[in-house]
């Protein structure tokens, strides 16, 4: 922690950055974002296993974008979303100072035990950063090993009718607060398609039709881009297991397009490219 505070003060004092986004503690077992603009605020910086927020999401905000240079404290998983922002022309590499934190794991959203997402993590050690803080953590999974999400198995084992019933029940609680969208580092559109009304693709009412369409389009727009940070699901006030959708499409991208998002800023997201030999068994 000393390291982090020291680095932050250095960056702020030297005016290398206009703003630093990090974590502060929130109660005994919690952490929340902290916007640091002076060295006094920097004293509050922490990093521990309760630092769940993906702070990269703030980089999409217009007021943050307007600043000359911003530092952000990020775990390997968060950096994957930064890589996507880079490849999608949403940030300029020069305008962001990444303070990469090595991270063994964070806690699950309810504050107990290891977070599910950490079991499939390949970047306990930040893969792209301006400075890496913390002791190196041994990586448990090889980079080229496909990731499999255990929690999908239950859903996959259901019949189609059961899956339908499952999702209708889950999505009935959706109140369309768009916390999933706002917390997502990759939902950066100036005008979301749901706010588009010529035509109104997606019913804005939180009725079954609108909730279904909204969650389809949200998952679809993240297809091949989602980096499994899990923020959408964590911030959902209705506890809807949104990551099941994202992870299903992540697996599809791996299986069909040999693609995992967020590792290489030079590569193109899979839905913006193709291979002639792509699988087409489902096409008659």
């Amino acid at each position: 922690m000393q390291e982090l505070v020291k680095k932050a003060k250095e960056l702020i004092e030297s005016k290398e950055v206009d703003l630093l986004i990090g974590y502060q503690s929130d109660g005994e077992k919690g952490a929340k974002p902290l916007f640091v603009k002076n060295t006094q605020q920097a004293e509050k910086l922490i990093f521990n296993q309760y630092c769940l927020n993906n702070l990269v999401t703030y980089l999409k905000r217009p007021d943050v974008k307007a600043l000359k240079k911003v530092a952000v404290v990020a775990k390997g998983c968060d950096i994957r979303s930064f890589v996507m922002l880079l490849s999608e022309n949403q940030v300029s590499r020069d305008a962001i100072f990444i303070i990469g934190m090595t991270c063994d794991h964070v806690v699950s959203p309810d504050g107990t035990g290891e977070n599910e997402k950490c079991t499939t993590c390949k970047v306990h050690n930040p893969h792209l950063a301006d400075v890496v803080l913390g002791a190196p953590v041994p990586e448990k999974i090889a980079k080229d090993k496909p990731v499999h999400y255990a929690q999908l198995e239950k859903l996959n084992a259901m019949s189609q009718e059961e899956r339908w019933a499952f999702w209708q029940e889950e999505l009935s609680r959706c109140i369309r607060c768009y916390a999933c969208r706002q917390a997502c580092p990759l939902c950066y559109c100036e005008r979301c398609i749901v706010d588009f009304n010529t035509p109104q693709w997606i019913d804005t009412r939180s009725n079954p039709r609108g909730n279904f369409a909204w969650n389809i389009v949200r998952a679809l727009h993240l297809a091949g881009r989602c980096i499994n940070c899990g923020e959408c699901e964590r911030v959902c006030p209705a506890n809807i297991p949104l990551m099941l959708l994202n992870q299903s499409l992540q697996e599809e991208a791996q299986e069909k397009f040999a693609w995992e998002a967020g590792y290489d800023p030079e590569s193109q997201p899979p839905l913006t490219t193709f291979r002639k030999e792509d699988d087409e068994d489902f096409i008659r």
């Binding site: 927020n53 217009p62 309810d110 609680r173 109140i175 916390a179 009412r205 006030p237």
Partner: protein
């Protein structure tokens, strides 16, 4: 006045019975994961009676997330108005006094310059059965706004826990009285109060700020840098407003196929980025902190100008759902401190 009691099992049975009646709407607490939601029930819904506070407020029972206000059909002869679904009698069970306290506040608004008969009709037909609090957390601050963990405001019936298995039912309104009388069978048992049943007193939730001092500061400090400091974390979703018992903004949307259409009153939120976006492309509240400032200012200042009451009941729900760490109590306390400094 007679004393009425009801056991948990009878309460469950009563709600289920009412929920089976297609002529009625019943809302009750349903567990999902680690949390409880006040949800619309049918005869088969499993109720959860062991919880601290629901994620959402009882608001959506009376002020639905969406509600058709006009239906029409297009015919070659012209436009034909279609009938709207009837507003059914409803029972809302499972809120706390901080939920119920929102009712008179919302009524003030919906019967203000324009009488919103959808809301008012539903209000007439609703029976609100409130549970007095037995637990609290660091986000609770009802007492700072004149509320109480066992306050009666807005409720029709207030249930106070007397045993592990039951409540004493306090009639608060005529509607409440009528409800108990109609379903007297369920309220006949006498429960002897058990010892050691926790009860929350006003003093358990200390007063943490003075709302009039907060208002004074807000009136004078629209451009104060404090706003940006306390709300910079906000990422502009509507979770806080949608779980809030007093947030009441809505949008009117049209949805039409070729032959018919419906106009809907649809929840909206001042925290969402597009809320004030003009057709010109200009957005007077383009920053997230500006939107959050609006939320606080509206509740703690503008609303008082109109209705002489803070539009917040201190339930703390917004702070609980906010994973960006925006905490209304912290912010209002900060403002109160600033205001105190200014007084000196």
């Amino acid at each position: 006045m007679a004393e009425y009691y009801i056991t948990q099992s009878k309460m469950t049975a009563l709600l289920k019975e009412l929920a089976s009646d297609s002529g009625m709407e019943v809302f009750g607490p349903v567990k999902k994961g680690n949390d409880v939601f006040i949800s619309k029930m049918d005869g088969k819904t499993e109720l959860c009676l062991d919880y601290f506070i629901s994620v959402n407020s009882i608001k959506e029972a009376i002020f639905p997330r969406f509600e058709p206000i006009l239906k029409y059909k297009l015919r070659s002869e012209g436009v034909e108005l279609a009938e709207l679904p009837p507003i059914k009698p409803l029972v809302v069970f499972g809120g706390h006094p901080c939920d119920a306290a929102s009712i008179p506040l919302m009524k003030d608004l919906f019967s203000w310059d324009y009488k919103d008969h959808f809301y008012l009709q539903r209000l007439e037909k609703v029976v609100i059965i409130t549970l007095a609090c037995v637990e609290k957390d660091e986000n609770c601050f009802c007492t700072s706004l004149g509320g109480s963990p066992h306050g009666e405001t807005g409720s029709d019936i207030l249930l106070e826990r007397v045993s592990k298995d039951g409540w004493q039912a306090k009639i608060v309104s005529e509607k409440g009285k009528k409800f108990i009388e109609t379903h007297l069978d369920f309220f006949r048992d006498t429960i002897t109060p058990e010892k050691g049943i926790p009860k929350l007193q006003d003093k358990d939730i200390p007063v943490m700020f003075q709302s009039d001092r907060v208002k004074k500061w807000i009136e004078k400090n629209f451009d104060h840098p404090l706003w940006e400091e306390v709300a910079s974390n906000c990422w502009s979703c509507a979770a806080c407003t949608y779980v809030c018992p007093t947030c009441h903004c809505f949008d009117i949307t049209d949805d039409a196929t070729m032959w018919e259409g419906v106009r809907t009153k649809n929840w909206d939120a001042c925290t969402l980025p597009f809320f004030t976006k003009h057709a010109s492309g200009h957005n007077p509240r383009s920053q997230s902190y500006e939107r959050y400032r609006q939320r606080i200012s509206h509740k703690y200042s503008y609303y008082i100008d109109l209705f002489n009451h803070v539009s917040c009941t201190g339930c703390g729900r917004c702070s609980r759902v906010c994973k960006a760490g925006v905490n209304i109590l912290d912010i209002v306390k900060r403002i109160d401190e600033e205001s105190k400094k200014g007084e000196k």
